[in-house]
Amino acid sequence: MKRPIEIAAAGTMLTALVAGLAVPPDAVQGDVQRIMYVHVPSAWLAYLAFGVTLIASVAHLRTRDLRWDRRAGASAEIGVVFTGLALATGMLWGKPVWGVWWTWDARLVLTAAMFFVYLAYLALRRATDDPVIRGKRSAVFGIVAALQIPVVHFSVVWWRSLHQPPTILRPGEPQIDPPLLFALLMAVTAFTVLYAALLRRRVELAEAEDALLTTARIEEPVAGSAVVGPLSRGEGA
């Protein structure tokens, strides 16, 4: 069944697509610049998703409520997908504009590192079956992993970088024409709503996975096959 958030995600994605195709091309880069309507929201979503993982990890350690752990894991999973998308679209844009798919730029390298940090986080979650133990361990790692987020964001300020510094979130006026800014903000909004819809679905799936695991545990014989229930005469023969 489709929920209002999913319908809203589809609607805003469609609007963002139309806006991204309808606005005039960039004066210097031409149509290649339209990749930014996917690249920038993907990068924003990565920060948002990993930020939610941090908050949910702290909340889980404080409350020991497994719902927070599921939110942390679900958000990290979505964040990894969108970090991968930001890296891929960045490379697609980099080839025609910079002339290379990949360059040893601080922002690029650190974003790739952040991608691997959260892949490791997901690997850690998969390595532990018990939801309670998994929750505690991954919450600690989720907090330590967040160390990477400010380093990635400020890398364009700390190092002389090929990647451009912030265009919108900067002191003073945004360095972008109003129609292009509108399309970009539409895309950011659409991706954010999509994130909310995906997060909700993934959390439900995680709840179902944990419930299935718990049911399987309950059905396991407590003391193996050594202990059996009382048998009626002739049943054990």
């Binding site: 350690l61 590192a113 940090v117 490791a120 361990r137 600690v140 790692f141 330590v144 160390l147 380093v151």
Partner: protein, 219 residues
Amino acid sequence: MTVWRQAAFLLGFQLRDELRTGEVIAVVIPFGSIALLVIPMAVGIETTLLASIGPGMYWAVVLLFGVVVTQRRTATSNPSHRDALVLLGVDPAARFAATAAASALLLLLFEIGVGLVMIVLYDPVVAGWGWLALVLPLVAAGLAMLGTIAGSVTDGGGALAPLLVAPLAIPILLGAAQATEGLRLGTGILRWILVLALVDVVLALAGVLTARVLEESSR
């Protein structure tokens, strides 16, 4: 017994254990030295090139082999020993502090040993010895705490621990490499020292504050 005394006692125990097994001195330092010997065979043996890339290669070796140092078997990593410490009422924060401090001291030893090998093989311009006396312990402490946390969340290391440590250690690697480059060029390195110190403080807080949770989650 205070937490500090517990940590000091466990630290001594772990260092005596290392003295007996000699894992870092007899195995990891020679292994790291071999890595430094192999790199020129891959990138070329031009001396000016090697002199310029030497410090960078050194830090990469410290990061990657540092994981081996932090994931070594310690006197308190055995589940039965760990359970005994819990029953004795040893504070989990003391156990974290002792393990991280022992790893930091051994990493410092590793850094010095492999650093001497790097100087001999690559002949780089080494400047600012006084600053290095600050950079080396800061890097060792950061890697040690990160490795200790990774070892705890993976319940004793395994194949997963290096995957957790390596990408997260990038701020430490960057701080160390930029500081040595700054020393070579004669530019200011204070901000890189501050980056390293900040990472260390964050990791120390994370390690101490989550030690009890991680002890509860160990099997």
